[in-house]
Amino acid sequence: MSAAIAAADLAFSYGEVRAVDGVSFSVKPGEILGFLGPNGAGKSTTIKMLTGQLRPDAGTVEVLGRPMATAREEIQGRIGVCFEEKNLYAAMTGLENLRFFARLFGLDGVDAEGLLARVGLADRAGDRVADYSKGMRQRLMMARTLVNTPDVLFLDEPTDGLDPVSARAIRDLIRAEARRGAAVLLTTHDMHEADGLSDRVAFINQGRILALDTPENLKLEHGTRTVRLRYRDDGGTREEVIALDEPGAEARVSEAVSREGLVTIHTEEATLEDIFVVFAGRGLDA
């Protein structure tokens, strides 16, 4: 299956600052690729190049098999972009926003009401966006992203700052789009979101991709699995952590489990943030 997004050796500088430095990756149709990195890592700049907003200093971008350098308008007719900032027309209603963007795509018969219903805004369709809450605006942003039934979705921090219910609704929508066959590039600095949503994850820091694999493989290959045990001890509790990858771990766990006074036992695996620290030497919020 050919890649829906193919980036090769992308580079871009803001003046003297190298924002993206030799980034290469691809995303298949139906796949969700999580772009994980701290603020200023180069995620948004990469998305700008992939969506035709910025021309790379070096490297190439192909979307849906077409080069961005020569087929920008054609590509932009088949992609959907959800920005981090809520750049909606606040003086217009939710319905008017969707209909306007549908017209930009040359689409007359778009079921805008249906899209609003999908994101839970059917009953607020006629209200001005200025009166929407932050969560409602984000849901409208997602509806706008889907107005042209895109083959490729670029989602920049789509759940940033949302309440759990709104965030979950957006994640469900992203999964549904991937099941439909859309390729999804998701940038986030939320490791749980990346872990839960992404088929593969790319760690990006200082404009470079440090690692790219499934969350499971990254954690297995670069993380430490442990067993945490708690015992009752002289009226208090005592804790013991056994690293499963160390020699003799199996025997130590057997012995610990049979020991008297065991209260709880938990297996623990590394988080994506732990793995990110291994690669980048810094946390995601640093």
Binding site: E73, G77, L88, A91, F101
Partner: protein, 355 residues
């Protein structure tokens, strides 16, 4: 350029404009208020002129007012000339030289200066020359052996027989004030689009920066043109050569659209957009104000981009100028319009591309 995309963008901007109560209010109020102001202004020219007289070396007085002509005496020629000059105390005057009465009585040649304001009716020159003859007859006790010569001096720009009423003088200024309001409206639309980054969302669809600029140009020039045409229609601005007036207003709308794009690009909020709009546009109103004050425009005023706009409106609506007369100013205005629009579009394009 994609016409469907541009149409969608223009439709959206029109909707945004209609929803902005401030601009709807200001546009409607401006139109109504300016039309009212125009029709409340005096439309006729005051043909009665105060007459000044100086007779050096003779006692003042002895010149009775008649036929609505008020006669004011002055101690000397210079004082009279100062009073006659544009905006002065009298519209015209006769400066009799020292020893005039003796010269006339003795049959010696003498010359009388007739000083006429540029704003005085043409008939005044003949009237005053006749008065000089009457004075000479009275001084000589009959027809003098030698008629005194008269030397007519027009003070200020000569508009004898071609006066412009205050109402007509206000016409270009009112037209320009309407254009300023619509420039501000465009600047606000542009600034909002940039500050809220909605333009970024537009530009990841098949819409291009060129489509965006074209839509802003259409909405800016269209609003300005529609509003100023309505105003001119309401204040009799199409009485002379309507086709020339339509062309000059269209070129003017394009000109101010460039400034609207500049102000919108530089402004960040309502107040800064207002500041930049006024900072850019107020100097451009100077030619329109200049029409209110008779006299030749200073060279630097003629160098302003709006001078040909005002010049054509004045000449077509008050002097009956045709295509041939208006052509140089129209060409100059077209050039200024192209330059200002290109500058505004270039600055806005740069800003959009760097977002």
């Amino acid at each position: 350029m994609n016409p469907k995309v541009i149409a969608a963008l223009v439709g959206k901007d029109l909707a945004m404009f209609r929803r902005d109560r401030f601009f709807v209010f200001v546009s409607v109020l401006g139109l109504v208020a300016y039309v009212l102001v125009f029709w409340l202004l005096p439309s006729d020219v005051d043909e009665s002129v105060s007459l000044g007289v100086s007779l050096e070396g003779a006692a003042s007085g002895g010149f009775p007012a008649s036929n609505g002509v008020e006669i004011i005496t002055f101690p000397g020629r210079d004082a009279l000339a100062e009073a006659v000059t544009d905006g002065g105390q009298v519209g015209a005057g006769i400066a009799f030289p020292r020893g005039f009465l003796d010269s006339v009585a003795a049959g010696e040649p003498t010359t009388v200066e007739v000083l006429v304001s540029a704003q005085a009716p043409a008939e005044f020159e003949g009237l005053l020359a006749g008065m000089v003859d009457q004075v000479a007859i009275a001084a000589a006790g009959g027809t003098p052996p030698v008629d005194p010569a008269t030397d007519v001096i027009v003070l200020g720009t000569d508009r004898v027989g071609d006066q412009i009423s205050f109402q007509e003088q206000m016409r270009p200024l009112l037209a320009f004030l309407i254009l300023i309001v619509e420039t501000f409206a465009l600047a606000t639309l542009v600034a909002t689009e940039l500050q809220e980054r909605t333009v970024t969302a537009v530009l990841v669809t098949p819409a291009t920066v060129t489509d965006f600029l074209a839509a802003k140009a259409i909405i800016g020039a269209g609003l300005a043109f529609a509003e100023v045409v309505l105003l001119m229609a309401a204040i009799g601005g199409f009485a002379g050569s309507p086709a020339i007036v339509v062309v000059v207003l269209a070129l003017g709308a394009v000109l101010v659209t460039g400034f609207g794009m500049l102000a919108g690009t530089m402004g960040k909020d309502f107040l800064s957009v207002l500041f930049w709009s006024l900072a850019l546009m107020m100097p451009l109103t100077i030619p329109a104000f200049g029409v209110l004050f008779p006299g030749s425009a200073a060279p630097w005023v003629k160098a302003l981009p709006t001078y040909p706009l005002v010049d054509v409106i004045v000449r077509v609506t008050t002097e009956g100028a045709g295509w041939v007369d208006a052509a140089p100013s129209l060409l100059l205005l077209a050039g200024w319009g192209a330059v200002c629009f290109a500058a505004g579009a270039w600055v806005l394009r740069r800003r959009v591309e760097l977002l």
